[in-house]
């Protein structure tokens, strides 16, 4: 993609300016356009000259997201007067909704603290006095400590919000929370702490507990924490004791894994887990904030902030394609490609350093302009329905009616709880579980209509298969060409080298080839999605105009492709260069027109569909394609 330039090193910048001069020499008329391009298109955060198909966004590194998390935590500390560790747990529990948290906390601080795992559940009988006078109770000292379920919880009965929930190393034998029948007695003697998890009783054993006082040895805490983080990706690490809801604060996790890790634990593993933990925390924060989205590219830890695309309703009038600013995929992919390409040139890397472009509004990990998310999703789903996997997914999974996560039910009862958004619903009727009461075996809310509709849809799709194939084949063709682009890049690079040798052009001067290849690839992406759009566009003048633009772009792209594939003869090189440069600019312009026109159409609400699309008006009956 042409936006390679923005992040390239000085060498790359040099190409840019040189090329711009080239174009000025070649064709003065095209100059403005070229300038625009460099000012707008290659920028990550676009300025006031933003085009109608672009969206304002900024890229944030993991550190800056961590900073805004810290700001939120400090904010809560200031207002609620709690320790930062507790504030972090409170915020995570409330999905980082500060207003909601403050409101709930004001209502019932003790309950909110207990629910979020920041404080120990108080015994019911004295709950009222504690809830209202937690600070007095703290001041009252040991006399207010009461025996709770077991004497071992004494230590933690202070749940004042001002108290730090940092870890405690317990030396007192009475603090042992061992549940073992046999160990109950031995805990009277200070020396004989037996870890209730591994049953180790050696003297060097370090006893660790959270505020709840349930101790275990540091080795077990370490193993448990790592398994929670690595295997479950969990940021909420609860006390190991059954039924205990206390959550380990961040500094506790840090101590367990890094600063005070068990001596026999694997340092590398500890560090990996700690790094992963921090990433999980950032992901949790990002996923709670609709203005943020985590970069979906593997190994990338950047976050993109795009406030203008934060609500679902704007997705009918814009396509929020964003980039996190990073490029390439860390690790083997790039190296492998670089190695497999026959080229010896060092600059070849830029071909494989794909920028991290993705859609902010939907899970599609590529640029699906000009078509909006809802239609793009419809199309992809339709294409996938033809594959076996998709058929399986269709028959065995359902989507959470709240967050759209795909869920497979492979056991248990019909009472489903979405793992992602915790929405509770009925597997049979997909309605909220709250309406079901306790009748969880048989759901009588099942609606026959759903089955009838499914059968109707099936017969309709059979009838329209031919129409579908027309669009699908063209879509697939562009998709395939885009996939072959790696080969095309390698081939083009070879040609550029040949050209350098056979003509007196410098390496910089033959860059026009590379630019053309990039442009072709970019336009193929646009074209690909125009077929998805055309498939769903309702018949009429608007669609005719759209297809005219599509045809013009496609014609231009095919012409340019052919030029690039044509054999190079030494005497023709200057002419070829001129032709390719002109065509590239023309193609660029046509692409611009398609994108601009479609984007404006979405803003004006001009497009009509032949199916119902989320957020759009229902299609008129007569234009419905059957």
């Amino acid at each position: 993609m042409s936006s390679d330039y923005e992040f390239s090193d000085n060498e790359g910048d040099y190409y840019d300016s040189d090329e711009m001069m080239d174009f000025q020499n070649d064709d003065q008329d095209e100059d403005d356009m070229e300038m625009d391009d460099y000012n707008d298109d290659f920028k990550i955060s676009t300025g006031s000259k933003r085009k109608s198909y672009e969206v304002d966004h900024t890229s944030l590194s993991q550190t800056s997201v961590e900073k805004s998390m810290k700001d939120d935590v400090d904010h809560i500390c200031g207002i609620l007067g709690v320790e930062p560790a507790a504030a972090a747990l409170l915020l995570r529990h409330q999905g980082w909704n500060k207003e909601l948290l403050i409101e709930r906390y004001m209502d019932d601080p003790a309950k909110v603290l207990v629910d979020s795992g920041a404080a120990v559940q108080e015994p019911a009988r004295d709950s009222t006095s504690i809830r209202t006078h937690s600070v007095d109770k703290f001041a009252a000292g040991p006399s207010s400590r009461r025996a709770t379920r077991s004497s071992s919880k004494l230590l933690s009965s202070l749940t004042s919000p001002t108290r730090s929930s940092a870890q405690k190393y317990i030396s007192s034998p009475t603090a042992s929370a061992s549940k073992s029948r046999k160990d109950a007695k031995s805990s009277e003697e200070p020396e004989s702490f037996v870890c209730p998890i591994c049953f180790d009783d050696s003297l060097e054993l370090k006893q660790i507990a959270l505020d709840c006082g349930h101790s275990a040895c540091s080795g077990c805490w370490n193993a448990y924490t790592i398994s929670k983080i690595r295997d479950e990706g969990e940021h909420c690490i609860r006390c190991m004791t059954e039924g205990c809801a206390i959550v380990a604060p961040d500094d506790f996790v840090h101590n367990i894994l890094v600063s005070d890790a068990a001596p026999d634990s694997d340092t590398t593993e500890n560090l990996v887990a700690w790094t992963r933990f921090q990433e999980i925390l950032v992901r949790n924060f990002v996923s709670s904030n609709p203005k943020l989205k985590f970069c979906p590219y593997p190994g990338c830890t950047n976050t993109v902030s795009c406030p203008s695309a934060a609500s679902k309703s704007v997705l009918t009038s814009m396509v929020p394609i964003v980039s996190c600013g990073a490029k390439g995929i860390p690790g083997s992919v790039k190296d492998k490609n670089a190695a497999s390409s026959a080229s010896s040139s060092g600059s070849s890397n830029s071909f494989y350093d794909k920028e991290h472009v993705f859609c902010f509004g939907c899970p599609i990990e590529s640029d699906h302009r000009p078509v909006v998310c809802g239609v793009a999703r419809l199309w992809l789903k339709k294409c996938e329905d033809d594959s076996e996997t998709a058929n399986w997914i269709k028959s065995n999974t359902k989507e959470c009616s709240k967050c759209q996560s795909t869920i497979e039910k492979n056991g248990g009862c019909n009472h489903m709880t979405c793992k992602k958004c915790k929405y509770e619903f009925c597997w049979v009727c997909m309605g909220p579980w709250t309406e079901h009461g306790t009748a969880w075996y048989s759901c009588n809310r099942y609606d026959e209509k759903g089955g009838v509709e499914a059968r109707d849809a099936q017969s309709r799709s059979r009838a329209s298969l031919e129409r579908y194939l027309h669009y699908y084949n063209r879509w697939a063709n562009h998709e395939q060409s885009a996939k072959l682009s790696v080969e095309l890049y390698a081939k083009t690079e070879k040609k550029m080298e040949d050209m350098q040798i056979t003509s007196e052009l410098t390496w910089i001067e033959v860059q026009f080839m590379k630019k053309a290849v990039e442009e072709v690839e970019k336009c193929r992406m646009t074209l690909k999605w125009t077929y998805a759009m055309a498939y769903y566009l309702a018949r009429g003048n608007e669609k005719d105009l759209f297809e005219d633009n599509q045809r013009d772009l496609e014609k231009a792209v095919e012409d340019l492709s052919e030029l690039l594939e044509s054999p190079i003869e030494t005497e023709n090189i200057p002419m070829l260069r001129q032709k390719v440069t002109d065509k590239t600019v023309y193609v660029q312009k046509r692409n611009e027109i398609v994108l601009e026109d479609t984007a404006t159409g979405f803003q004006d609400g001009r497009w009509r569909w032949n199916v119902s699309v989320d957020g759009f008006e229902e299609p008129l009956e007569e234009v419905r394609v059957d």
Partner: protein
Amino acid sequence: MTSISSRRLAKELMEIKNDGCPVGINLVQADDFSIWLFTIEVMGESLYQNEQFTLQFRFDQQYPISSPAVQFVVTEGRQAPVHPHVYSNGHICASILGNEWSPVLSVIAVCVTLQSMLASCKEKQRPVDNDRYVKHAPENPKKTRFHYDGEV
């Protein structure tokens, strides 16, 4: 990790041998630290009177941080109890074997929990989706992600 798992199991085994199992539960086989077998009977009045089941525990290196794989044995003339949370292949849908497992729990604690699960059963029937589950179920019940409701 190896040491934690085997040390813990050795200790549990010693306790079982010294103190014996709770009533209705008997250790059948514990030759190594990977598979243990118990027989389990429901004492007193229940739907499962005079029935005996065999319970199999499989431990991995991560035990007790990760839960053991527990299921009823259904070979050699052995049957799984007919119960709304027990599939005919012996797999058990119980939260303490999944997301509510705690390293503080032990083999005996699991046996006792399952025993009381059977004892409190009011109607002998298989889970609603038994046939479909059994057809696709993984060999190891831990690979199944059960969804639990509050009545386990």
